[in-house]
Amino acid sequence: FQTTMDVAAEDSDQMPSGFHAKAAAKAARLRREAAKLASASALESPGGIESRPGEWAPTQSKLLRRVAVAARPGHFELSLQYGPYSVAYDTTGRLLALCGRGGHVAAFEWRQKRLMFESQVNEPCHALTWVGAGSTPQLAVAHSNWTYIYDAQGLELHCLKRLHKANKLFWLPRHWLLAACTDTGHLHWQDVSTGQTVASYCGHHGPLRVSALHPDSGCVLTGQPNGQLCIWTPLEKRPVVKMLCCPAGVRAVATAPAGHAVYTLGGDSRLRVWDIRCLRPLSVSDSGADAASIRLFDAAPQLAVSQRGLLACPVRQGAALMVLPAGGAKPLLSHPSPGRLSDLAFCPWEDVLAFGHARGLGSVLVPGSGEPNPDGAVHPLSGKRQRREAEVRGLLDKLPPETIAPPAVGGGVNAVDAEGIEEALARKRAAVMALPSDEVRQFQPRRRSGKASGELNRKVGERWQRRRMELRQLLKSKKRVLAEMGDEGADAAGGRKTKKAKKVSQSGELTKPATGTFLDRLIPKAD
């Protein structure tokens, strides 16, 4: 977990001051200690392939000969007839669901090959995602017109007519939101726990055919034909961030299940990696060499990223899939596909990759793709009771949709509202520095008439004369202090910028201290 400060910690000359450098060093030290603690208590270690130089990427049969028999369920092929298939794993990694353009919808536990349900819905199905928590899994499937939610037995629970012509469905587990991008250019966020539609609007950016979810923040990223990457949140009807990431149109967008990396595949067949926190290119290789992009020839626009940063993409126009290591260009392994590849999905917490193609779906072993040590009850071996409790806790900890914001824009619950503080200070300063109102200065006491009024009028007139002198002095001293405070002070007090003030701010020094009044405390001290 890195803040923007940590990103800059690598370049210490970018630190604004010694205080920031110290804070960044402390944060780095705490991170190292936390990592040490985590590794000390870690139960499992990640997988991987160590190959000798010159060795080819292994085939599945080679891998199967070298791993335990218990790993065999991870490799299977299903020949099915109902069109190109999309696949989706649930968050625990236990269940696998598929939907085909021919109307085939099914879900099964892939380890035991236990079928949960299978049905023919007689409508083309374009996308699917598991919703809900692991104890009561539900499947949301985007049919040609509307989106349907099925339960674990295949019974249709809901028909979401608002999610019309959805081509991609996303599940935000911490917010309990089902997000959808549609062919009509609309974006929807539906709360699955209460049934409330959080946001539903037209993005006015054309059909949103290329989209991905950034899981860490909950934002939806879409790729536009003009090469822009747009970041959408439910509270804004316009993209919060628009970033030019390709010279040609964006063909695919993918994000890792955790972290700040965003992968875009452009029309020029180049894969670029971006840091979503600062919207700048992330160097692809760990060695720090600036490999700005990887050329993926004939790459069909499906990308999948695993928990440990492995990237899977179709090659040879969908005839095979290739897995690239994190930050590398040399493929880790590849596998031919019986049909044209239509979808890829890494299994969370396991070293397994599922792929859907025109003639069915398959699953391959990919050593080193799964995160070995899960946290909590969201992992394949958690029991039913633990999953139920985790679901209840998840509902209690449901985050409001206001927390969905791209990290680049900043904010967050603990962010210091620097602008708000500045505004409040400026208001206070303006109130103190407010010049005595003209009404007060030009006030003329009313003249009395009648007996002994002459004396009274004289006295009152004298008193007000004295008061006017005092106000004039006050006005002068305030103006002097304003001038010395410079442009900022003038702005805060609503006064005009004087040439004198500009000169002072440029030199950065105060030429004359103010009078010994209470206004002195407003003069900024020189460093």
């Binding site: 977990f1 499992e44 292994p58």
Partner: protein
Amino acid sequence: MKVKLLLRNPQDYLRETADDIHKLARNPAPELHPMSAETEYVRALNAAKLERVFAKPFLGCFGDQGDQLSRVCMHPRALSLCLSGCVDGRVAFWNIPRRSRVLQLDAHSGCVQGLCWHPEQDLFYSCCDTDRTLKAWRVGDDLVEFSRPVSQRHLDFAPLNLDHHVSKDLFALSGDAVYLYDSRRSDPVGQWKWGSDSVLQARFNPTEWHLLAAVTKDNALLLIDTRQREPLRRIRCEFRQNALCWNPQEPFVLATASDDYNLYSWDARRLASPACVYRGHTNAAMDVDFAPTGRELVSASYDCTVRLWESGRSQSRDVYHTKRMYRVFAARYSLDARFIVTASADFNLRLWKARASEKLGALTPRERAAVNTAEALKQKYAHHPQVRRIVQHRHLPKRLYQAQLEMKAIRGKQRRKEVNRREHRGEDKEPFVPERDRHVRGVDE
């Protein structure tokens, strides 16, 4: 080629026997915990809401006494016992957890003005202004013994309140002056007075054995050293102070309940102005008591509410009211600082929780951990507007709410006028006076 595939042994994730707790996988790596600050914030918000859901401070009434209650006195050593004094002269002895009356006796012919326990013996004193007597009663197993006072003393003044020394056999009676009596002597050992008005209450300091504080009817607070003939200091306040209490943990701090709807806490070392002004009541504050921890105060008010305060914070932490509770004249903390007993003009003693959403009874370790976590979360996010709004808000009946708005309007008007006057007359003629300097007329030595 070396290949390692991630394979988990299910035995590592399953509990061994049915008696074990389920195993929970843990990985503290921050990558697996995105939006942890937001989750914590939501938990803090939920904790604040749940606190309000479970905030049911009223535990029960002690039963109708038949007449207005004037005094409450907690036993100095036993948690579950307290005394109450009535305006018709009856003193009742209560069992607090059962809210039942152990015994009642017709102590005096008039209003019981003072009640206090002996710190060590099973003896308590009561005094009355109508019959001008001070009576000592022994609490024993023999109820017959209980119905007659152990000793009785006739006074030549009308006593208004009574307090016993922390350790010595002395007690202070306040009437037209502050009288110090020794239990072995019939005449007062000392007498202090400043001015001609009567003294409403005198209290001994818990650690300085010679120090007494007293509040008088002519809006003054007196500090008396029993080794000297004249009182040490007199602080002239704007309004009458109805009651006073020393802080048991910080014995140089003193709290008074004033007729100008405020409570004041005073530092005895610097009496020029109060250390803190506690604002919130919409009618005269009748009684004040410190918690045994010294960190909290409870005040009983003529506006039919009881307010709880944190020492040093001028806004009340909580406010207790019921439809049936009328003017509250006395409020006392229990010895464990968990309960409050109030005596009010609707003839009832009431028992309240000091922490409104506290769960009474034994907490399991997990419950305790959950409570502590919730408390820590609320403190961490206390400044966030949504959390603050929920934690601070208390429902008030319409008349109290209107009274509060009225007080706000009055104060707002006063402040506005001051600002205008300062602008027109000048800073030197209308200087800014901080809140705590506005309430003291002067200090006399």
